[in-house]
């Protein structure tokens, strides 16, 4: 058993070095992410791979911006919005954030339900039990230790990389598809705009910006130590998108290539792992999906509650007793209860909800981006750390493209072809 202990020690050492950027990136690969990437690969094959590079660049820019803001000002994003734009604006942003985060929370519980169904466990059992587990884990403050276990479990995503390789994809085709710019035709394909917004929304989710900035502040990163954090953020972003790329490729090779164009359930997504794990594809996928869902379920509701409490000036923090921070604890409990509760409604199309919530992310993202851009260009706030022209260009372009895609999608919905 000695080799096991040595292995464990090495993992622990590795994690003590990894920071908020890496953790955020891993939580990014939540059930919403896994299933959106799987659907993109299954439905469109390699043809949406071109989105990966622009999305990765945008993700790095956006995450770096929030990390920089957190390090330079020492305040969270909702605090900054409150101080610079006042209460009304903050309330609007918080409302928007709660709505999209709630969609994501529902998705995490949907992930728990779907992964457990792969083992034949009914959602009526798995979801309430896990909701209680998540609630206890966080309230009892064991979350920090559990975080390390979850992070270890996240290395499950490496199996997608392996699956991607073992599925004998058309390397030439996929690599070309990654760098070739899209044609206007490809956008007209049914569901393409929807999926692209989903891809953006699941990779650059609004909640991540608030969570990362708050983590940077909590870690006490200052202007001087910022360079190390920046590296941590970039590495995290690249890692998460490499995994995303492989998920798309694995599903394209396993599903699209064999004519399974639509993922109706998580079971189909598990098929993508068959080249690697054969019979055990289901088990690997289910365990990994469950791990991702549970991990995100412990982080997302908590992050939402912290953000809202800070923005609106409510007492927050797990070191407070219930009586000292009633809104904090009540709101947290409500988010978990409602999030889990929605999943228990019979006959709910869990997959559709999952994919839809990521699209909502993509629609709300531009508004958060605009605030971030306005704040990060304020000299009195950021001093010499304001955005360079390059960063501004990328960030504004990202916001602009998201708005454009959203408008196109809305128009498509209204005219009946989306």
């Amino acid at each position: 058993m000695r080799w096991l202990r040595r292995w464990k020690i090495q993992i622990i050492v590795l994690f003590s070095v990894l920071g908020p950027g890496f953790i955020t990136a891993n939580v990014d690969n939540d059930p919403g992410g896994i299933l959106t990437y799987s659907q993109a690969g299954a439905q469109f094959g390699y043809s949406l791979l071109w989105t990966m590079i622009p999305i990765t660049v945008a993700l790095i820019v956006v995450q770096e911006m929030v990390a920089r803001m957190g390090a330079v000002t020492g305040k969270g994003l909702s605090d900054l919005i409150r101080e610079e734009y006042g209460l009304r604006m903050t309330v609007l942003v918080m409302l928007g954030l709660v709505i999209t985060n709630f969609g994501n929370i529902v998705t995490e519980f949907a992930g728990i339900a779907q992964s457990m169904e792969l083992f034949g466990i009914s959602k009526y059992l798995s979801v309430p039990v896990c909701a209680v587990i998540v609630w206890l884990l966080v309230i009892k403050g064991a979350q920090k230790n559990v975080e390390k276990i979850f992070l270890a479990g996240s290395f499950f995503y490496l199996t997608y990389i392996a699956a991607g390789v073992l599925s004998h994809p058309d390397w030439t085709h996929s690599l070309i598809a990654t760098v070739k710019p899209p044609t206007l035709e490809s956008f007209r394909e049914k569901g393409a705009v929807f999926t692209v917004i989903g891809l953006v929304g699941t990779t650059i989710a609004p909640w991540m910006q608030f969570y990362l900035q708050a983590s940077i502040v909590e870690k006490g990163v200052t202007k001087r130590q910022y360079a190390a954090s920046r590296l941590d953020v970039i590495v995290g972003c690249i890692f998460t998108d490499v995994v995303a790329w492989f998920i798309i490729v694995a599903c394209a090779a396993a599903l699209y290539a064999h004519g399974f164009r639509n993922i109706a359930s998580a079971k189909d997504a598990a098929e993508a792992l068959r080249p690697l794990a054969g019979q055990f594809a289901f088990i690997l996928f289910a365990v990994g999906l469950f791990n991702a869902a549970l991990f995100s379920a412990t982080i997302l509701p908590l992050s939402t509650v912290y953000t809202v409490c800070e923005g609106l000036g409510f007492e927050s923090g797990l070191d407070n007793k219930f009586s000292e921070a009633p809104f904090f604890y009540w709101f947290y409990t409500l988010l978990i209860a409602l999030g889990a509760g929605v999943i228990l409604i019979p006959g709910l199309p869990l997959l559709k909800i999952t994919l839809g919530s990521q699209v909502v992310n993509g629609m709300v993202l531009p508004f958060v981006l605009v605030f971030m851009l306005l704040l990060i260009n304020k000299k009195e706030l950021m001093g010499e750390y304001v955005n360079t022209r390059f960063f501004n260009a990328i960030a504004w372009a990202t916001a602009g493209v998201c708005i454009l895609l959203g408008v196109v999608y809305a128009v498509g919905l209204a005219t009946g072809n989306s």
């Binding site: 020492g74 305040k75 101080e83 209460l87 009304r88 502040v217 200052t222 609106l312 000036g313």
Partner: protein, 413 residues
């Protein structure tokens, strides 16, 4: 309501002497050099730029602000340095609630009308940090005012009186202009000051810290969480750090020095007084997890042949804190530890009584390299308040106090 709030004032129309609307209220200003709680002027946004209306020229407040000056005489705003502008500097910003001992965010500002030398004035009563202020800000203009007023009446107010509010301003030049001094903060218990400091953003934290006197800063710094201690110290000049560290308990100062980089701690040590510097260097030699790493070098020692009167004389010159004062140690001329006399034994004894007759038996002490957990065991077993620390020659080198042990044990929980 006889009071007026900032939200009511902001954005309301301003009429000049002839009754024509000239603009809208953009800001309410205070001149701290004159009076930190009285409104000195109102800034009006007009189509031809911002105008400054001194409060004296305002005649009424109902349904808008009425001034006695004709529009043509409204003074153009030159600049706003030296003025505290309530919307920009107070609303939605963090301030220190000195009474509640925490950091809060301002939702609204409650004003009230008063008279001074028979002239009407407007003063700040309190800042609203609760739901009432928040709801008023959110719904004003969106909901009819009568309905809003009755809704607001039902929400219990959470307000902090203006005299308990300490402002936070990270720009030192503005701090001077606005006379922000954090005097009231300095009167709180160091542990409460530390809590407040920990709640602030780094720039604000350093700003507040810089306004404190050395001894207050030292006591507060001791109570601040180590990770913030480091970042605060790194932002100050070495000589100011040295001044503060000289006021701190030596063990706390040594712990902090040990956490800094070698060159930074050298720079600080060089700025210290020679006698403090040597004591610091000695303490830094020891491993943090041993008795010597936790001990303080401020202890009371008296020659063992002395009387109660000698001990009381030594007490008068003592620089250490309440924990270390609880025991008087008896040493010989070489500094070897001979005995320990608890303060309680001393208090009731006649002044001529020899100290040796008041020592507790047996005398408990520990070697300087005793590990922390054994130190804690000794405290528990013998119900100690203080534990003398000796070196290989049995000479007294320092004292571990109960609060150090409590801190150590809490880290284990």
């Amino acid at each position: 309501m006889t009071g007026l709030t900032l939200t009511d004032l902001l954005g309301s129309p301003v009429y000049d002497a002839n009754g024509t609307a000239g603009g809208r209220v953009r800001e309410v200003a205070i001149s701290p050099q004159d009076d930190l709680s009285r409104v000195s002027a109102v800034i009006v946004k007009t189509s031809s730029g911002d105008r400054l209306l001194p409060y004296a020229s305002i005649s009424a407040f109902n349904g808008g602000v009425k001034t006695s000056k004709p529009f043509a005489e409204w003074q153009l705003l030159e600049g706003s340095e030296g003025m505290l502008l309530l919307e920009r500097d107070l609303l939605d910003q963090q301030v220190i609630d000195v009474h509640g001992r925490k950091v809060v965010r301002v939702n609204d500002v409650d004003l009230y009308r008063d008279t001074l030398n028979q002239l009407p004035i407007l003063k700040i009563a309190s800042v609203d940090v609760g739901a009432r202020g928040a709801v008023r800000r959110l719904l004003k203009g969106a909901v009819p005012s009568a309905a809003l007023r009755s809704l607001l009446r039902r929400i219990p107010p959470r307000a902090i009186p203006w005299e308990f509010v300490d402002l936070i301003e990270s720009d030192p030049a503005r701090r001077v202009k606005l006379k922000i001094s954090n005097d009231r903060l300095a009167e709180l218990h160091p542990a409460d000051i530390a809590d407040i400091i920990e709640d602030l953003a780094p720039d604000d934290r350093e700003a507040v810290f810089e306004t404190l006197d050395h001894d207050v800063a030292a006591d507060a710094l001791e109570e601040v969480d180590p990770k913030f201690q480091k970042s605060i110290v790194e932002s100050l000049d070495s000589d100011r750090v040295a001044d503060i560290m000289e006021e701190m308990n030596p063990d706390a100062a040594a712990d902090l020095l040990g956490d800094l980089s070698d060159e930074h701690s050298e720079a600080i040590l060089r700025e210290m007084q020679p006698e403090d510097r040597q004591g610091m260097r000695d303490l830094l030699e020891f491993d943090e997890d041993t008795a010597a790493g936790r001990m303080t070098t401020y202890y009371l020692s008296v020659e063992f042949g002395g009387t109660v009167a000698d001990a009381i004389a030594t007490l008068r010159g003592f620089e250490g804190g309440p924990a270390a004062v609880s025991t008087i140690f008896l040493t010989d001329s070489h500094g070897t530890l001979v005995g320990a006399v608890p303060l309680s034994n001393l208090v009731l004894a006649p002044s001529t009584q020899p100290l040796l007759s008041l020592v507790t038996e047996p005398m408990i002490s520990c070697h300087q390299e005793t590990p922390e957990n054994e130190v804690a065991e000794l405290f528990d077993k013998y119900n100690l308040l203080t534990l003398p620390v000796v070196n290989d020659q049995k000479m007294l080198v320092g004292v571990v106090t109960a609060d150090d042990v409590v801190g150590f044990l809490r880290r284990k929980i």
